[in-house]
């Protein structure tokens, strides 16, 4: 039996090693060009602030996502599918677009302050640590909700029915079913969001209100851009990676499998308690729908007027972006599935670390390092799109891995032995067991990966020549030339395309699972 499992056993560690090399080699290349490593007090202040805001953002996003995910899991109402799909949208917004959308609601002249002033109340300011956390919750709460909802849907309906026939009330259901599920899912959710927020840059600086809101990524920008102090940049990026690794280790230690055992995969029918719990669910769902749709609506409204008068570059750039997204998404999905299946067989720190560290890496250092590594062999410009795809694969793989892992574990523990004893291995195991059982998370994950790759601006800015610009780059070029209206429209096209890609993958996965 062990011999039959060998190919997967070798491929997954090799993939993990490759991924680690992709993160660490550019860092080493950047560090190599500098000499010595010195971080000043301002750098450590940036490290502290980055960790504080990332922790707060992760905790709030996750804590608020739990009631929303539960309400979505146990209630059926018109528009439920739409709301779940909408959950994909904020996550896909480019940072600058998301910030402008939020400001239309929470800004100085936003809806909220207009309402407060009309009521004779003092206006509130969004700028500061609370604004940073608010923006991060807006961007990440939907992701957290979707990941936790996935957890709820993975509880076998047989266990739910058993609980119902035993007369479990809400508290017993929580203790025996929902609690263990959350213990398995939540550490991964907190980890992913913490690490995303750790490297957040434009959101933190724009809403942070001043230099006290300085993150590691900004310090890296300064080191690379104005000082060309590559050793300091590498040092800062190293600290960022170390924090990410510690977080990954902590999450790995506290995760415990829920161990529900196998089910027949019937549709889940959670009991939907009446009374105040029903009111609570309605409140949670309405609040989140309002919180997400108002800024999204603002993005839509800002983009509409300029649509008729878009510059000619937008169309080819959009085409390139879609190609990059499709390529990155399919490679990342395959790689993440390989890693998750291997990790489900036998938990390994190496796999977990390799599938988390790319998130904690600094985009600027990754790009700069790759540039230094490629330059002796080829003109970096000619490799702009392949490098972008490679980096997008590395950056989206962690999300996919976290989304796939819990269910891959469940499939392995529930059906692994049966499949082994029936000698269902290799392709047929993938075709008849794994793909059907994992269709839902695979679709969701592939959608996230495609949309993330659409919106990514990280390395393309460093590599792109005249004729390789992707849509996010065009948006940033337009805003840099006063053309805010055209930029808003191009951003709307970007968001619509990302959302369409996300929706197609996600809905495809759900249809295949049904």
């Amino acid at each position: 039996m062990a011999s039959r499992a060998r190919p997967l056993n070798l491929i997954a560690p090799a993939l993990a090693a490759l991924l680690l090399a992709l993160v660490l080699a550019p860092l080493a290349a950047v560090g190599w060009r500098g000499a010595g490593l010195s971080l000043g007090p301002a750098d450590w202040a940036a490290v502290r602030f980055s960790i504080t805001q990332a922790l707060l953002s992760a905790v709030f996003s996750t804590a608020l996502a739990i009631p929303v995910a539960r309400a979505l899991a146990r209630r059926r109402f018109p528009g439920r599918t739409l709301l779940i799909t909408l959950m994909g949208a904020p996550f896909l917004l480019p940072a600058v677009v998301a910030v402008l959308g939020l400001l239309a609601v929470f800004g100085r002249s936003g809806l909220l302050n207009q309402a407060l002033i009309a009521l004779g109340l003092p206006p509130i300011s969004i700028y500061g640590l609370h604004g940073v956390v608010l923006a991060h919750v807006f961007l990440n709460l939907p992701l957290a909700t979707r990941m936790i909802l996935q957890g709820w849907l993975s509880i076998p309906s047989e266990r739910i029915r058993l609980a119902q026939s035993l007369g479990f009330g809400p508290s017993e259901t929580f203790r025996h079913l929902e609690g263990p599920m959350l213990r398995e899912v939540l550490p991964g959710v907190v980890l992913v969001i913490l690490v995303i927020c750790l490297t957040s840059f434009a959101v933190v600086l724009t809403l942070g209100g001043g230099p006290s809101a300085t993150t590691i990524e900004l310090a890296i920008y300064q080191a690379v851009r104005f000082e060309f102090d590559l050793s300091r940049a590498a040092g800062l990026a190293g600290v960022q990676l170390a924090v990410g690794s510690l977080a990954a280790l902590a999450a790995w230690l506290v995760t415990s499998p829920a161990g529900f055992g196998a089910g027949l995969g019937r549709e889940l029918n959670l009991s939907a308690p009446e009374g105040w719990r029903r009111a609570g669910d309605i409140a949670a769902l309405s609040a989140v729908a309002l919180f997400l749709s108002l800024p999204l609506g603002a993005v839509l409204l800002r983009g509409l007027p300029g649509l008729s008068d878009l510059p000619a570059v937008v169309l080819p750039a959009a085409g390139r972006s879609v190609l990059v997204a499709l390529a990155s998404s399919s490679i990342a999905t395959t790689a993440a599935l390989t890693l998750a299946l291997a990790a489900a067989r036998r938990p390994q720190m190496l796999l977990g670390a390799a599938a988390t560290l790319p998130l904690a890496t600094s985009g600027l250092v990754l790009g700069t390092g790759l540039f230094l590594l490629i330059q002796p062999f080829a003109t970096p410009m000619t490799l702009a799109l392949p490098v972008t795809i490679l980096v997008n694969v590395a950056l989206s793989l962690p999300y996919l891995y976290r989304i796939l892992l819990p269910e891959a574990r469940a499939v392995h523990s529930d059906y692994g032995r049966l499949a082994d004893s029936l000698a269902i291995q290799g392709w047929s195991r993938l075709r008849w067991l794994i793909l059907p059982r994992l269709a839902r998370p695979l679709g969701f994950g592939a959608g996230i990966a495609a949309a993330l790759s659409m919106g990514d601006l990280g390395v393309i800015a460093l590599f792109a020549g005249e004729r390789q610009a992707t849509l996010p780059l065009v948006v940033s070029q337009l805003t840099g030339a006063y053309r805010m209206e055209a930029a808003a429209s191009a951003a709307l096209i970007l968001v619509t395309l990302s959302f369409a890609l996300f929706w197609a993958c996600d809905a495809g996965g759900r249809r295949a699972a049904a």
């Binding site: 910030v99 570059v313 070029q477 030339a481």
Partner: protein, 327 residues
């Protein structure tokens, strides 16, 4: 046989490469090369005279340009770097990657500017831009601005060139009093953005009364959008200048063509494109004059620290800025 085939193959690849016209590669910032920037018109005009292929390579924003030059080092394919400003030229010269141009340029800059490695191609004054309908009487100095309860958005000097320009502006105007000015401004600053476009976007969305930009920004709205509501506040202490320059790389394999481009840069064909694509003052005023709105906000006094001075003052000024604003 196989070897012959290979040789034949290589020859067919090599022949057109030999016959190809020479390529001049100009490294510049993104918005210069974009479809709506000066790049396309300048490319067409230069190629009409040079019998060469002019290629603009975008390298991110202005601040990213010097980092890119340093990253590529002597192995760079680029021949000319276009778009550095005077707060970066001292650092750029220190890399020894640039070659002296050996020219004396006659320009219409309001200050004297001569640098052995760099020639100016356009310039502007930093200024706080506001909406004239909402703020008919803008403050006339930093002190008046600090005393008011007006809200402003500025850019971070650690990630953007206008942000660095503002730092130098306050330093050049107030010297040792700069920390005091920054402390006074602290409660006026709504937020600090990573780059110019975020700040300008916030201002247009109504998040602030004024934004750090250029005296020529209102002209953009006037000409491109027929919108006469934007103004630039003129400050009594004078306005800091941004002079954008270009230089030839020492590693260039087309030094003659690079020289030819630098000469072309100060001719009518190049300069007349600048005002309405880059929205800056051309280094040499075109025969047709400046477009409408470019004379609307002309400061009486120009401020500029010499490149070496700006480089020397930067770290201390940055520390003062951080200390004053970190509440």
């Amino acid at each position: 046989m196989q070897r012959h085939l290979l040789a034949a193959g290589l020859l067919t690849i090599a022949t057109p490469a030999l016959a190809e016209t020479p390529v001049l590669t100009v490294l510049t910032y993104d918005s210069f090369t974009s479809e709506w920037g000066p790049g396309p018109a300048i490319e067409a005009a230069f190629e009409a005279t040079c019998a060469c292929d002019l290629r603009f390579v975008p390298a991110g924003d202005g601040a990213a340009l010097l980092a890119r030059v340093q990253l590529e080092g002597a192995a760079s394919d680029a021949d000319v770097v276009l778009g550095l400003d005077t707060s970066l030229t001292a650092a750029a010269s220190a890399t020894q990657l640039f070659a002296p141009h050996g020219k004396t340029a006659s320009t219409n800059l309001p200050v004297d500017f001569a640098d052995p490695n760099f020639l100016p191609f356009d310039w502007g004054w930093f200024a706080f831009v506001h909406d004239k309908t909402k703020l008919p009487e803008p403050p006339k100095s930093f002190e008046a601005l600090a005393a008011s309860d007006l809200k402003i958005v500025i850019q971070d000097p650690r990630s953007s060139t206008p942000g660095l320009g503002l730092l130098m502006w306050v330093k050049a105007a107030y010297g040792d009093r700069a920390p005091e000015i920054w402390q006074g401004l602290a409660d006026n600053i709504v937020t600090v953005t990573p780059g110019w476009s975020e700040a300008y976007g916030l201002f247009l969305e109504g998040e602030a009364d004024m934004v750090l930009s250029y005296t020529t920004s209102p002209a953009y709205h006037l000409i491109a959008e027929s919108d006469d509501t934007k103004g630039a506040a003129l400050f009594d202490e004078g306005h800091y200048m941004q002079i954008e320059v270009a230089g030839k790389l020492a590693s260039s394999d087309q030094p003659d063509l690079a020289d030819q481009f630098l000469d072309f840069m100060l001719t009518e064909a190049f300069q007349s494109v600048i005002p309405q694509t880059n929205w800056m003052y051309p280094a040499v005023t075109p025969a047709s004059g400046l477009p409408e709105g470019f004379d609307a906000f002309r400061p009486a006094k120009s401020l500029l620290l010499a490149p070496a001075q700006a480089q020397a003052a930067r770290d201390a000024a940055l520390a003062e800025w951080q200390a004053a604003l970190a509440r």
